[in-house]
């Protein structure tokens, strides 16, 4: 947890139901807060530069540049062009996952069983690949743009035998993470259970989306200069549109 870089007054609030997908452009200087409403939420997200959509979140660059395999306050999301698309400026969880990815329709059927619209109407079992593809299609993006995604609110560790371990209690009701945009960033997201969550009942959790104006952008940037790599990446961001 760190100090907040915005007033209590949000610009807009919107719940994202469990299982749903959406997309938005977080404007330069704004902060998006994701809040886990019930606990146990997971949000899978892709990020892109809306002005040049071939520039996208590059998780390998993000991880190796900051020598981390977990994401929390002080970490930046780097694009493939070496710019900071977004930065985590507040986080009550302490761990967000870069490994798990999203399930497709076949994997969702295998894990949860059949859950078709025909029987369940809008409670049907959705999957991350299709949710993200549909949302990306609205921006004229395609399968080639579906890269490694971040899974917010989820924690997956790697043990001494190099095996993945999912932590079930990483996020509780009211936990939140805040993303600051030093440049306009297109976010495509879906609220579905983490693929490595062992629960076999389909129970997607809702999240609240809240927009804020950062009130001290220089202070935000200073707080994110946790390492030299971030300073150079912020420099690249500034050079994108001098």
């Amino acid at each position: 947890m760190t100090a907040l870089f915005h007033s209590a007054l949000s610009l807009h609030d919107e719940p994202l139901p469990g299982g749903a997908h959406t997309s938005l452009i977080l404007r330069k200087g704004h902060i998006l807060r994701l809040t886990d409403i019930d606990g146990g939420a997971n949000v899978s997200m892709m990020m892109l530069n809306p002005h040049e959509k071939s520039e996208r979140l590059n998780l390998p660059d993000t991880l190796k540049g900051q020598h981390t395999a977990r994401l929390t306050t002080g970490h930046c999301f780097y694009s493939d062009m070496g710019r900071v698309l977004a930065a985590i400026v507040a986080d009550s969880c302490g761990w967000h996952d870069p490994f798990g990815g999203v399930l497709n329709a076949a994997e969702t059927l295998e894990k949860y069983g059949a859950g078709r619209y025909q029987e369940l109407r809008n409670g049907f079992y959705r999957n991350g690949v299709d949710n993200l593809l549909v949302e990306m299609g609205k921006w004229d993006l395609g399968l080639e743009d579906l890269l490694m995604v971040v899974n917010f609110f989820s924690k997956v560790t790697v043990d001494e035998e190099s095996r993945f371990r999912f932590s079930a209690d990483n996020s509780r009701a009211g936990d939140f993470v805040e993303l600051y945009a030093p440049m306009d960033v297109l976010m495509v997201l879906t609220a579905l259970p983490h693929p490595q969550d062992p629960a076999t009942e389909y129970l997607p959790r809702p999240v609240q989306l809240s927009w804020y104006q950062a009130d001290r952008t220089e202070a935000v940037t200073d707080a994110m200069l946790t390492r030299d790599e971030n300073q150079r990446a912020f420099h690249n961001t500034q050079l994108f549109a001098l």
Binding site: S54, N58, L59, P60, D61, L63, K64, G65, H67, T68, A69, R70, Y78, D80, M81, G82, R83, W95, F99, G100, G101, V102, N104, A106, E107, V129, G142, L143, E144, D145, L146, L147, M148, V149, T157, V158, D159, E160, E161, S162, R163, F164, P195, Q196, E229, R232, A233, H235, N236
Partner: protein
């Protein structure tokens, strides 16, 4: 780590090509053929991407691949899955023991972030990828996703740390993959000089294919 040796003989391969240090190579491997990547002089990262040749938008997916095997490194038995969930290739032999798929490929832009602004103009893997893609015509910038770094060692710690270590490879180490469908193979024989991923000395690598 477990080492699985292949009984295939280089003289029986129908295709052999040595990729000089720092250069790209793009080629096709048909379903049922076996591809060997050979680290000729040791500690050479071979940055590699795979595509379904019948639908080049469908690409190797590192998150699905790692999730489905439940482990963070690639070795014999690893099935390389696509973004649509289809198996592209399976690793069938490996004398190195483990390979990285989290470290990505170097680029001019990431070099400015990782090292210094004045490293921008050094040669890089993603420049290699782009050059090979645009000459071939079937692939474009947006098709370049997270790749495999064969022969590269990027340990992940239980605390969530990630580091670049000296290579675990050595002269003559190889990895073999069986193509589960018709795949395009995009390689950059890594030119990185700013970290130990190539033992500070990029060297040639050989590609062999058997029917």
């Amino acid at each position: 780590m477990t080492f699985i040796i292949s009984d295939r003989r280089p003289e029986d391969a129908f295709y052999r090509h040595v990729i000089p240090a720092g250069e790209p190579w793009l080629f096709d491997v048909k379903q049922g053929q076996t591809l060997r990547l050979l680290d000729l002089e040791g500690n050479q990262a071979i940055d590699t991407l795979f595509y379904n040749a019948d639908n080049p938008r469908e690409r190797y997916d590192p998150q699905r691949t790692l999730r489905r095997q439940g482990k963070v490194y690639l070795t014999t038995g690893s099935v390389l899955y696509s973004s649509l969930g289809n198996p592209l290739l399976t690793i069938v032999a490996d004398t190195c023991g483990r390979h990285d798929t989290l470290g990505g490929a170097c680029s001019q832009e990431s070099n400015t972030v990782r090292y210094a602004q004045n490293k921008r103009y050094m040669h890089s893997c993603r420049d290699n990828f782009l050059c090979a893609c645009l000459h071939d015509g079937r692939l474009h910038k947006r098709d370049i996703g997270a790749n495999i770094n064969f022969f590269m060692n990027v340990p992940v710690t239980p605390e969530g740390g990630l580091t670049f270590e000296d290579g675990v490879s050595a002269p003559g180490k190889y990895v073999e993959l069986l193509a589960e469908c018709h795949v395009m193979v995009l390689i950059s024989n890594c030119p990185q000089l700013n970290n130990p991923c190539n033992g500070w000395n990029p060297t040639p690598a050989e590609v062999l294919i058997w029917n």
